[in-house]
Each structure stands twice: as C-alpha cells, then as structure tokens.
C-alpha cells in the first residue's frame, strides 16, 4: 500500500520502487482510490523513492491528472530522480503537471 497524508486539502502520496506496466495498474488504482476518498484540492505525487520508471509511469500521472481535473484540482510531482525525469520530460509532462 502506498503511504499518503492529507494536510490543508493537499493529498501527498509517496510512490515506491520501479514503475512499469507490471506495477502500474495497482499504483493507478491506489492513487485513484485515495483521491476518491479524500477529494483533495491538489494531489502531490512524491517520486523520491521511484528508482525506475518507463512510459507506464506517464499513464499513471495522466490518470491522476484526469481525476484531479474532474475535481478542479491539480497534480504536482515532487523529488523526481534523473531517470524518471527523463521519461516525464520526453512526454512533455511539465505542460500538464507541475514538477517541483
């Protein structure tokens, strides 16, 4: 289960490990479940402990962003390591989610 906490309507979810197609579906479901549960104003995905990610991770971010759009909120990506950053940039993700 992903760790998460809520503060001032801001939901922070800490992702973990390698994100590929094998792990992505479970991660998407967990993120979706938490957003549905807390209905936050913004959703922070903490990538600090994501050691590897392929394009399946892009779909994870896109899905989170779609859910947050429905709530009128935003998605922020935190502590993105070099390899995942390369993938996110190659998909132009900085145009749809804030990377900080």
């Amino acid at each position: 289960m992903l760790t998460s906490f809520l503060q001032d309507k801001q939901l922070t979810i800490a992702l973990d490990g390698e994100i590929d197609h094998h792990s992505a579906q479970r991660i998407m479901q967990q993120i979706g479940g938490k957003i549905d549960q807390f209905l936050p104003a913004s959703c922070i995905l903490d990538f600090e402990r994501v050691s590897f990610m392929d394009s399946s991770g892009i779909a994870v971010v896109l899905n989170a962003r779609r859910r947050m759009n429905e709530l009128g909120g935003s998605v922020i990506l935190l502590n993105v390591q070099p390899q995942p950053m390369k993938i996110l940039c190659s998909a132009g993700i900085e145009q749809i989610a804030k990377i900080s």
């Binding site: 390698e18 590929d20 197609h21 094998h22 998407m28 394009s55 899905n63 390899q83």
Partner: protein
C-alpha cells in the same frame, strides 16, 4: 573482452518478466562499463519493447518473447526484441507519439522513447506473424572516461 559477445534470452510474456528483462540487459551491458545514465536509457528502451510484446502482441494469451543483445565494434550495443504475436498493421502510425491502441493504461510514448534513447530503431512487423524491434546504442568508451 576483445572477442564479440552476445546473448539470447527467451521468456514467456508474463508482466513480471519486464523487470527480469531489464535486469538481464543491465547485467549484459555491464561489460561495456556504461554510465548510470546510459544504463537507465537502455533499461527503459528494453522495458518499452518487452512491455509492448506483453500488452499488445499477446493481449489474450501468454507467448514467447525473445531478447537478443550483441556487442558490435566501437562499443555499440545492439538489442533485438521479438514476438510472434498479432503484429502491427500500420507501423508508421504506431511510431507516432501518443498513438496507442492500449487505452488509458498506455501513453502511446513507447516507440517515441525507444527512438530518443537509442539509435537506429527498426520495426519489422507482419500482422498475424509478429514483430521484431531492433535498436542500437553507442556507449561512451571506457578509455575516454576521466
């Protein structure tokens, strides 16, 4: 190692084997003494190619995926990933960024990433017969390292 080296790896299209394939190529590439960055690129490209076999080539069954790697001259690593799955009807369309037949779980960025992280991406596909992906990567030579 002076003499040419290669490897050929076969495994069934279980999604758990995506990480196995990535690790296997990383272990094989280790002899070329790649940088962390280069290793990340190679693992990503393999992850994309193998995932495509698992998700697209064999959508409703488990088939065999074959990954080959070969060390060419001038520190070039050549990787081939092959399936005998459904094949790609229109390769030009499939190569386009964001194009996917995989729904919201896929981003359509697989080929785009392979293309930008590797060189000479070749896609050979026959509907009903399967798909072969070939790509290369020149690694910074050991001698040249600071």
């Amino acid at each position: 190692m002076k003499t040419e080296n290669f490897m050929r790896l076969e495994f069934p299209s279980h999604s758990a084997n995506e990480s196995f394939a990535r690790q296997a190529i990383a272990c094989f590439a280790a002899q070329l003494d790649p940088t962390l960055d280069e290793l990340g690129d190679i693992k990503t490209a393999v992850s994309e190619a193998v995932t495509n076999c698992i998700v697209h080539a064999y959508p409703d069954c488990i088939g065999i995926v074959t990954m080959k790697a070969k060390i060419l001259k001038d520190n070039v690593l050549q990787i081939t990933v092959r399936d005998h799955g459904c094949g790609i009807p229109d390769v030009e369309k499939a190569r386009q960024p964001m194009y996917t037949t995989g729904g919201s779980e896929r981003s359509g960025m697989g080929f785009t990433i392979m293309e930008s992280f590797m060189s000479d991406l070749k896609i050979i596909s026959k509907p009903g017969l399967g798909t072969t992906i070939q790509m290369k990567r020149k690694l910074s030579r050991k001698g040249v390292r600071p």
